[in-house]
Symmetry: C2
Subunit: 319 residues, 2 copies
């Protein structure tokens, strides 16, 4: 029995293997992805993002439990731009996640892909697609950072939840990080702390403005994830947003935009791989580097020459 057979027979280990193949950019990826693509397309993707320390992991944990208790098939992707160097330090944080192992219908994957520059957003989409093809109905994608890649990931989700904590200036920081724009739902976690109500009213001023553009009534949900307070309401709001999307005429526009984003991601990844493997090889690089360092050539002219060489190679069938 091949891994793919096991995968379609619902074996979690096979899903793990397939995801590792995606993460490692395995040799059979080009054949694998269209197969997954064919089976995928039914899962609902919820992105949860926000500044470090907002308690996203706990929130995702509790939310997943709630879905799982209702016999829902849940996938969790925790995107973690850390490195092998720091892996040890992360264990504490991930230990809480282990509790979820008690639920057979929850599948968790942590992605620590620092290093594979640029590929993170693309790989996350592919891992979600694998979970989708496996039969996961809701996929929760937790991103730690607030950088461009994280915003891209959130962008590719159906519903984006931005998690904040009531601390002075945190709503301004959210604005700065561009989170305001991608949020469909706001969560103020650790809402027992002072400042929660002030933050909620600050947010609602901006959200009223946003509502006029989209028609969606942006909810601000107060939670205390560790005490399991507000999680039910968050789940309801996600369902409401899903309903809103399916009734919304702009949904067509969003779907097209998503396909476009997807195409660009795939293209970006393939192009980079192609450059690294076939164009800017170690030999080619070594040829130019001495000239660049000696000041005889600038990188722009070097790229011109690389493209000219490539042109000749292709024309001569040496590619």
């Amino acid at each position: 029995m091949t891994v793919l057979d096991e995968f379609f027979a619902g074996q979690k280990l096979a899903l793990s293997k397939i995801i590792s193949h995606i993460e490692n950019d395995g040799p059979q990826l080009r054949e694998l992805l269209p197969i997954l693509y064919d089976k995928a397309g039914r899962a609902y993707k919820v992105g949860l993002t926000g500044p470090p320390g907002a308690g996203k992991s706990t929130l995702v944990h509790k939310l997943a439990e709630l879905y799982a208790e209702r016999n829902h098939q849940v996938g969790i992707i925790a995107v973690d731009p850390s490195s092998p160097f720091t892996e040890g330090a992360l264990l504490g944080d991930r230990i809480r996640m282990q509790n979820l192992a008690a639920y057979p219908n929850i599948f968790i994957r942590s992605m620590a892909t620092r290093g594979s520059t640029g590929g993170l957003a693309a790989s996350t989409g592919e891992v979600a697609m694998a979970m989708d093809a496996f039969g996961k109905e809701t996929i929760l994608i937790e991103t730690v950072g607030v950088g461009q890649v994280e915003l891209d990931i959130a962008d590719s989700c159906d519903t984006t939840v931005v998690v904040l904590v009531p601390e002075s200036g945190d709503s301004i920081q959210a604005l700065k990080a561009g989170l305001m724009e991608i949020a469909d739902i706001f969560v103020i976690n650790k809402a027992d702390r002072p400042g929660a109500s002030k933050m909620a009213s600050e947010l609602s001023i901006i959200l009223d403005f946003k509502k006029q553009k989209t028609g969606w009534e942006y909810p601000v949900v107060k939670t205390e994830a560790v005490n399991e307070i507000g999680i039910d309401e968050l789940k309801d709001k996600i369902a409401a947003h899903r309903e809103f999307l399916s009734a919304d005429s702009r949904n067509e526009y969003h779907r097209r935009r998503k396909i476009k984003t997807e195409l660009f991601h795939i293209l970006d990844k393939r192009l980079k791989a192609h450059i690294a493997e076939h164009i800017l090889t170690e030999d080619v690089f070594n040829k130019y580097i001495e000239q660049i360092r000696a000041g005889e050539l600038n990188p722009y002219d070097a790229v011109d020459r690389i493209i000219t060489t490539l042109m000749r190679d292709i024309a001569n069938g040496r590619f």
Copy 2:
């Protein structure tokens, strides 16, 4: 007098125009960049990054003043992944920056490039190069986020300063975000808050470990940027790191890697520009999207076709 003449005559307005040309991917960029490249290469680039709210803007402000008071030519790039939607809210934060206008030898540029996915790291490098060519001696690059793009930017700097605040779990968050790995110098800002010493000792345990690999004695500098405390020490540590680098034999390796990254960025950008203009045009995209939505084509095969067309274009000299 052309803009370039004005630029080389030291007129700030010309530098602004040149930077706008870079940001907007202007038509004369291909001619402009090699000219800037020829003049650049002397500036020292310091990246400052860390979680939102750590007080990076104030720190950069004070550091720039310190350099400026010593008749040093300083450039500041504040990379801000926000959007037109949030611009108003940012003003407050940028107002502090306006004070710097009093120093004729400080030039500030805020880059808010949310949307131009992928190009941010490349453009930031080009903007820094423009400042370098203009005669700036030290360039401070402040990134707000802790995402992949921000890490890439920090990576391309000579010295990377990671700014944290003494809050519970913040050092763990820094680990999670991959900041530990790129830091050459740590700053604990707002060091009057409780927990600063605890954080410093937490960090030094990890840094001892890191030192064994590189030989660099990673400093942890405590600052209170608003009270101008610790800024002098930070400046000294940056100078010490610069000294360390110039004596370090691994510097050769790093320089080669930087040129390679640069070549890769330029090549990637040129290929993508060609694809966007000539291959994946709105018409082609619309054709693919209908086929993809009808289930007749998957995005992977679509990308194959795009790359095949690209290679044919290159071979036929239509590039």
